[in-house]
């Protein structure tokens, strides 16, 4: 049976919460327009926009209930939902703290109005949410019947989960996790076991991330890479062995043996799976030999809890950034650089960085922070012949320097960020915004503030932005 969940950014949640609980103990209302993500096991609603109902204008004394949204307010927003292919959710609050449910009056009003709303919004789904201070209940109306909301996830620096009532979570007390459970508890361990994490790129950075999160006890790992191991990777890819590169065969002058060597070489994702299984035999590990830029692959990532970007192409950055903002999935981009002056050969500023990207304004959007080169993006769409015709100077055989210890710096920072984010361990007031860049040659760190462009087509709130649209917008992948 499918689970029904709701994801909302912390910024939108705080806006809503402040409106619903201003301290007057009274009832207040709002509407959320949401995108949707449907996968085999889950239907996830994605809060794209929160519209607060103004007291006395949009939210007035009801004829049958205590309060109601006005017909004009409902009509305007349900039409918008229909036109923009979004799901319409009414929101109000009750008293109480850790548990909440709909009153009979609420349920009766749904029965009166929602069949028509379902039609107006072209089959929705539509629904209602009722909040207590630390709880939320939801009723979802679909063409296939009425469903109940399982949980709401508030995506911020710390992931916060809300339920209709406090859930009973069986902790995990396995001996292998004993030392880390002393930090975040058996319930935290259980939360890791239930999480699904995507790793884009299983090379020097991704292989470290994969082993670390497997050892942490993450239950479901999806690793994506189309590449096979080569001898120049072995110094950086965790668990790789020189013999499985078959470089001696690939070095053969006989084309057939060369082809055989290429065919026999192990895929990087298969190495990552082997290492992960050694660390945690219970892990569900999907080793995907493919590219995040392909639609079939990206569909496996839509219900992830977290995404690590460990690949360097601009296209993978664009898809990652779209996934974070379109599907409200937190993520982190990892990199290190050893820039070398091509004229003098001298090494310039070496750095390692892990850039968190949260689906909200100033959340680290790669577009807003100019970390996606539009020129390189266009280059990546060209064939080799087209690149030559356009007389590009860049030699594809030139590789940038890459060192395992620098990769480890960024990877460890990123995995710690995931751990703290997923289990709510960050100090909300002290944890600094932005991302930390390790300036290795200077033996120091710096915090880089995140920029935001309000017109951004990924994280912005304009009509053209893909923010929170989920399946109702297309991803930037080729056909």
């Amino acid at each position: 049976m499918k689970r029904y969940t709701f994801s909302i950014s912390k910024a939108n949640y705080d806006l809503l919460h402040k409106h619903l609980f201003p301290g007057d103990g009274d009832e207040h209302g709002a509407v959320i327009l949401a995108g949707i993500c449907e996968t085999a096991n889950e239907v996830r609603f994605l809060a794209r926009e929160v519209i607060l109902a103004r007291e006395g204008q949009d939210f007035v004394p009801g004829r049958q209930g205590y309060r109601a949204l006005t017909a004009n307010f409902v009509a305007h927003l349900s039409n918008r939902a229909a036109n923009e292919k979004l799901c319409y959710f009414t929101v109000h609050n009750h008293g109480g703290s850790d548990s909440v449910s709909f009153s009979q009056t609420d349920l009766d009003s749904h029965a009166r109005g929602y069949p028509a709303l379902l039609d107006i919004t072209n089959g929705g789904p539509i629904g209602a949410l009722v909040f207590a201070k630390n709880a939320v209940a939801g009723q979802i109306w679909t063409r296939d019947g009425i469903k109940q909301l399982d949980q709401m996830k508030v995506i911020g620096k710390n992931l916060k989960r809300l339920f209709p009532k406090p859930p009973k979570i069986a902790g995990i007390n396995a001996a292998i996790y004993n030392r880390q459970s002393l930090f975040f508890g058996s319930v935290g361990q259980a939360r890791l076991a239930r999480s699904k994490v995507v790793i884009i790129g299983a090379g020097g950075v991704g292989s470290i991330v994969s082993e670390h999160i497997a050892r942490l006890g993450v239950g479901h790992i999806v690793a994506i890479d189309y590449d096979k191991i080569e001898d120049s990777n072995v110094s950086r890819v965790m668990g790789s062995r020189l013999w499985e590169c078959f470089s001696w065969l690939q070095a053969s002058r006989l084309p057939l043996l060369k082809k055989l060597g290429i065919w026999l070489a192990t895929y990087k994702v298969d190495i990552a799976k082997r290492v992960a299984k050694q660390a945690n035999s219970n892990v569900k590990f999907e080793a995907i030999r493919g590219s995040i830029c392909s639609k079939e692959v990206v569909e496996k990532c839509l219900d992830a809890d977290f995404i690590f970007l460990c690949a360097d192409s601009m296209q993978s950055r664009l898809v990652f950034n779209a996934l974070v903002h379109q599907y409200l999935i937190p993520g982190i981009q990892i990199g290190s650089k050893v820039p070398i002056d091509t004229r003098s050969g001298s090494v310039e500023n070496v750095f390692a960085v892990a850039r968190p990207v949260l689906p909200e304004a100033s959340g680290g959007c790669l577009l807003c922070n100019e970390l996606i080169s539009f020129a390189k993006l266009q280059d990546e769409a060209l064939t080799e012949k087209q690149r030559r015709q356009q007389a590009y100077v860049a030699d594809p055989l030139v590789k940038a320097p890459s060192v395992v210890t620098l990769n480890a710096l960024g990877s460890a920072q990123a995995v710690n960020y995931f751990l703290f984010n997923h289990l709510g361990l960050f100090n909300e007031t002290l944890a600094k915004p932005g991302y930390r860049m390790n300036l290795v040659r200077e033996n120091s760190w710096t915090t880089v503030a995140c920029k935001q462009n309000p017109d951004c087509l990924h994280c912005g709130s304009g009509n053209r932005s893909i923010y929170g649209r989920g399946d109702r917008a297309s991803l930037p992948c080729p056909n």
């Binding site: 993006l377 064939t383 012949k385 007389a391 087509l457 912005g460 053209r464 297309s474």
Partner: protein, 135 residues
């Protein structure tokens, strides 16, 4: 069956049609969801021979996040005065459309500060035309 053009690319093409109502706009989809677009009957300046040309360019599937360049004009474009070609204009540089070479003159004008929210393929075409008309 021809590959499907992505909605963002289709919108860009519609905007080009609206911006150049007296030109024929031919569209050839590429395999990824982008398209090659050829806009005919564009005045590029009497300093050139010919003074009117078509313009062919590719809008890749990543649009609006990828730049639209280079732009291709009729092959053998020459200055009437006999002066050498200005920098950025490459005669005899064919355009590869889905693996087939089309003789052309390439004009390469990369956008250095592309803003996907506002910079459209139609706007880029106009900027390239404005530039070539001043050469």
């Amino acid at each position: 069956m021809s590959p499907e053009i992505k909605p963002e690319v289709a919108s860009a093409i519609d905007e080009i049609r609206r911006a150049y109502p007296s030109s024929e706009v031919e569209v050839t989809p590429d395999p990824d969801g982008g398209a090659y677009v050829k806009v005919s009957n564009l005045h590029i300046g009497s300093q050139f021979n010919p003074a009117t040309s078509w313009c062919l360019f590719r809008i890749t599937f990543q649009y609006p996040f990828a730049d639209v360049y280079p732009h291709y004009f009729v092959d053998g474009l020459q200055k009437v005065s006999g002066e050498p070609q200005p920098q950025g204009i490459h005669v005899g540089n064919p355009c590869d459309v889905n693996g087939v070479n089309h003789p052309a003159t390439m004009v390469s004008r990369r956008s250095n500060r592309l803003n996907p929210a506002t910079d459209t393929a139609a706007l880029k075409l106009q900027k390239v035309l404005d530039w070539i008309r001043t050469q």
